[in-house]
């Protein structure tokens, strides 16, 4: 494995994270060349190992979950019982040689384990310590529990999503787990690594997932604090475009987004439609006229889009310089989107237990600061020998003893 050209080569991470937000953050480091050692335990298996998707016939295999594997490529995996004194000692031995410690346990858990920032700093004074609790370590609601799907509600996103006359908009996935939390955390860790290189000083990064997520809708919060207005959800309406929204296309539940932001684009849209007579109707001649006659306009436009596949709607409109994009589904994203193929975003691999899997890349490219997907996500305890023997120098006898005692388990 040649990871020499990667930007985080030489950086070592002790990864105590689990579920979604934490592992995606350490995945960024792993794909960028850092050695990331994930500490797991048979006693408390990462919840993601127990939920799908699985390839057919693999359900229930803790090493086969697409959800787990997709978030943990390029990491080393060991099993260690953190609650045993010897397990704690071994963890500390790994921490002494590391640069970053990351966790996303609930507030107070790391303190109980004896691995609070203060504890860790004592044995590794320049550590970069990343904590990703839901509510933060302090505050009256620090004990509140939550999952990503609900943190978006807490942070104001759901209230602002969806149609005005409908309940708050909901997501088929845990938005904050895959956005604000792992990636804000990554930004902070990288800045802390830069700072440490310059000054030798470590850092505590205390990310409260509530705060990190509400930063994604900061302007809406400011609208209230500055003007006293509580912004409401408004469907697919925006101030800067008309027509605007997802238009139904040929096929089942297929849509294309169309956004006309200026008169030039309106003219382009009319050309794309073959300049039908209704386009010249003064009812649609200006932005405000179109807004007033929105319903008729949307109906006319939908009549045109309904007859065409979404891909064709996008191509016809783009050819005339009109912003348009297919409401992509995952079949298209994985198999048909030419841009994603061009970027070589997915790296296909064969996981020894999970079968074929296409690992996601990062959103950036560069001739230099590369990321790469080279290793499958670890099976539970896959790197025990390597980490305990080669890195920590335990003998086979010592390892066997620790296994018997339930420490390496």
């Amino acid at each position: 494995m040649n990871r020499n050209g990667l930007p985080l080569k030489g950086i070592k991470v002790v990864d105590l994270t689990w579920v979604g937000a934490g592992p995606l953050c350490t995945r960024v480091m792993a794909m960028s060349g850092a050695e990331v050692i994930r500490i797991e335990s048979q006693k408390r298996i990462d919840l993601m190992r127990n939920v799908g998707p699985y390839r057919s016939g693999k359900a229930g295999n803790i090493n086969a979950s697409g959800r787990y594997n997709g978030m943990n490529n390029d990491k080393l995996g060991i099993t260690l019982d953190l609650t045993s004194p010897k397990g704690l000692d071994l963890t500390k031995a790994l921490i002494r040689r590391c640069d970053v410690v990351a966790h996303n346990f609930a507030a107070g858990v790391m303190q109980k384990l004896g691995l609070s920032y203060e504890d860790v700093k004592e044995i590794k004074p320049d550590v970069i310590y990343l904590a990703m609790t839901i509510m933060g370590e302090e505050g009256p609601h620090r004990g509140f529990r939550g999952f990503g799907t609900h943190i978006s509600a807490l942070a104001g996103i759901n209230h602002l999503t969806g149609l005005p006359e409908r309940p708050p908009g909901v997501f088929s996935f845990a938005y904050p787990d895959f956005t604000s939390n792992p990636y804000h955390a990554s930004v902070a860790v990288l800045a802390a690594l830069f700072h440490r290189r310059k000054t030798g000083e470590g850092q505590l990064i205390d990310l409260a997932q509530y705060e990190s997520t509400l930063c994604l809708v900061g302007p809406a919060i400011l609208q209230y604090t500055a003007n006293g207005q509580v912004p409401q959800r408004r469907g697919n309406n925006v101030d800067y475009a008309m027509p605007h929204g997802a238009f139904p296309c040929a096929g089942s539940d297929r849509w294309c987004v169309i956004a006309v932001t200026c008169e030039q684009e309106w003219e382009g849209l009319c050309r794309a439609l073959g300049s039908p007579e209704w386009c010249l109707d003064p009812k649609f001649a200006t932005f405000s006229a179109r807004s007033e006659n929105e319903e008729v306009l949307n109906e006319r436009l939908s009549t045109w889009t309904r007859a065409l596949p979404p891909e064709e709607v996008m191509q016809l409109l783009q050819k005339e310089g009109v912003p348009a994009g297919v409401v992509r589904d995952f079949q298209e994203l994985l198999d048909k989107d030419l841009q994603i193929q061009h970027r070589q975003f997915y790296t296909p691999m064969e996981h020894p237990e999970g079968g074929p899997i296409r690992y996601s890349g990062m959103a950036y490219r560069s001739s230099e600061a590369r990321w790469s997907v080279e290793q499958n996500a670890p099976c539970l305890g896959q790197h025990n020998d390597y980490v305990f023997k080669d890195i920590l120098g335990l003998s086979s006898a010592e390892m066997a003893q620790l296994k018997e005692e339930g420490v390496i388990a």
């Binding site: 960028s32 799908g52 998707p53 390839r55 697409g66 933060g136 302090e138 505050g139 009256p140 799907t149 509600a153 209230h159 969806g162 149609l163 409908r166 909901v170 088929s172 938005y175 787990d177 956005t179 990636y183 990554s186 930004v187 990288l190 800045a191 830069f194 700072h195 290189r197 850092q203 505590l204 990190s212 994604l216 900061g218 302007p219 919060i221 609208q223 209230y224 604090t225 500055a226 697919n236 929204g245 997802a246 849509w255 684009e265 912003p323 994009g325 409401v327 992509r328 589904d329 994203l333 994985l334 030419l338 994603i340 990062m362 959103a363 950036y364 490219r365 001739s367 230099e368 600061a369």
Partner: protein, 412 residues
């Protein structure tokens, strides 16, 4: 501060603003290089005090906290020369022009890296610098659609839904900051700069997490499920019967709460106990409901009673009660709930930030993370061209009379 001494030139509009906001929060000196009429975000409503002026855009305020601003007309030769002098002293340049724009005006990546071989140029665009869609026209909704998120927002019978506050720009901003910082770390090793090419479509796609694996492994195309997460969640199921992953939105007296399907057997006892204390448990206290199979059979009735009860309760009451019994129930907050949340208040999350044009202090969201021993830099946004003298005169050493000449020529 973590990025103290790092100089960032920000040529971007809203597409790159969150990237440089994060760098500014971490202590970098971010200089916005604005056209003479200002960043278009300055003209984007809503406005502070509802008065439309270039210093008053709420979105601009949020995105540009802690930055400096200079004006520069890049269409002029003098403007280009000045920009190259600035680029020589910069560590990072962030831009969000359509691909090829900088090349066309003679300020492409090759030129910039020639002038400053240690420079990091971060380009944030909808689809990246090249490829079949690179020149597509886009808006936030178009990227949200092409990045796979939009198809999974909303209820099954509704069209795909947009999201608030330009999420693709926020996501591309975070990934842009990651890419730029990776390059900065690498530069410390190699001494070489680089051009980092960020795709907002891919930043958006990454926001869908494991859903791609759902399709490739099961063949099922996940769309709008009304809040159901494919494959379900975890835990014993709400009331011990409703399987994980079911929609979990409940209406209450003053809005909505999200109550995930957890709690198991013990949850049942505690929830019914709560309803009984308020004389709202109907027949649910009856012994027969202790059997999971009875509850499974009468799920509809149970939910009827439960929903009717919640409608009499405030969000706050429900959340506190459910959290007490360890069910991770959270409120559907609006902006006011968040701005007045005592938890955030006690953590000191908000900061009173000066809005220079009105002299008001505005309570503003702080940083997405807290640092120790360092701190984040939380300051107000710049007025248009506020730092012209500080940057052109103090930094580049341009005499003041030369600056007046440039001003007259429409360069700054």
């Amino acid at each position: 501060m973590l990025l103290e001494g790092v100089v960032v030139l920000d040529l971007s509009d809203e597409a790159g603003a969150y990237c440089t906001k994060l760098l500014a929060l971490l202590g970098a000196e971010v200089v916005k290089v604005e056209p003479l009429e200002g960043d278009p975000t300055r003209r984007q409503g809503p406005f502070i005090d509802a008065s439309p002026r270039p210093e008053g855009s709420v979105t601009f305020f949020y995105h540009n906290m802690g930055k400096r601003s200079i004006t520069l007309n890049l269409a002029t030769q003098d403007g280009k020369d000045l920009f190259l002098r600035l680029a020589k002293q910069a560590d990072i340049i962030v831009e969000s022009f359509a691909p090829g724009t900088l090349d066309r005006i003679g300020l492409g990546s090759a030129k910039l890296l020639e002038v400053n071989p240690r420079l990091i140029l971060a380009s944030i665009t909808a689809f990246g610098q090249d490829g079949p869609y690179a020149h597509h026209k886009t808006t936030e909704a178009v990227i949200l659609a092409m990045g796979g998120i939009m198809n999974m927002v909303g209820f099954p019978d509704d069209p795909p839904n947009c999201m608030p506050c330009n999420q693709p720009a926020m996501l591309a901003g975070m990934h842009g900051a990651i890419g730029a910082l990776m390059a900065l770390l690498q530069k410390e090793e190699t001494g070489r700069g680089q051009h980092v090419d960020i795709s907002a479509q891919l930043a958006t796609l990454l926001g869908t997490g494991y859903i791609s694996h759902w399709y490739e492994m099961t063949g099922e195309v996940v769309t709008r499920t009304g809040g159901k997460v494919p494959g379900g969640g975890f835990g014993g199921g709400f009331f011990g019967v409703i399987p994980g992953g079911e929609p979990s939105l409940f209406e209450c007296k003053d809005g909505w709460v999200m109550c995930p399907p957890m709690g198991g057997e013990r949850g049942w006892e505690l929830v019914v106990g709560w309803m009984a204390r308020e004389a709202a448990a109907d027949d649910l206290t009856s012994e027969s409901y202790r059997k999971p199979e009875v509850r499974r059979e009468k799920t509809e009735h149970i939910f009827q009673v439960w929903r009717a009860f919640l409608k009499t309760k405030l969000k706050r009451e429900i959340v506190e009660q459910m959290q007490r019994i360890k069910v991770p129930c959270l409120p559907v907050n609006n902006a006011q709930d968040i701005a007045e949340d005592p938890h955030l208040e006690s953590r000191g999350f908000f900061a009173d930030v000066e809005h220079r044009a009105s002299g008001r202090k505005i309570k503003s969201p702080g940083s997405p993370f807290r640092l120790f021993p360092d701190a984040c830099k939380i300051e107000g946004p710049p007025q248009l061209g506020e730092h012209n003298v500080a940057v052109y005169h103090d930094r580049l050493g341009i005499p003041l009379d030369e600056m007046s000449r440039l001003r007259e020529l429409g360069v700054i």
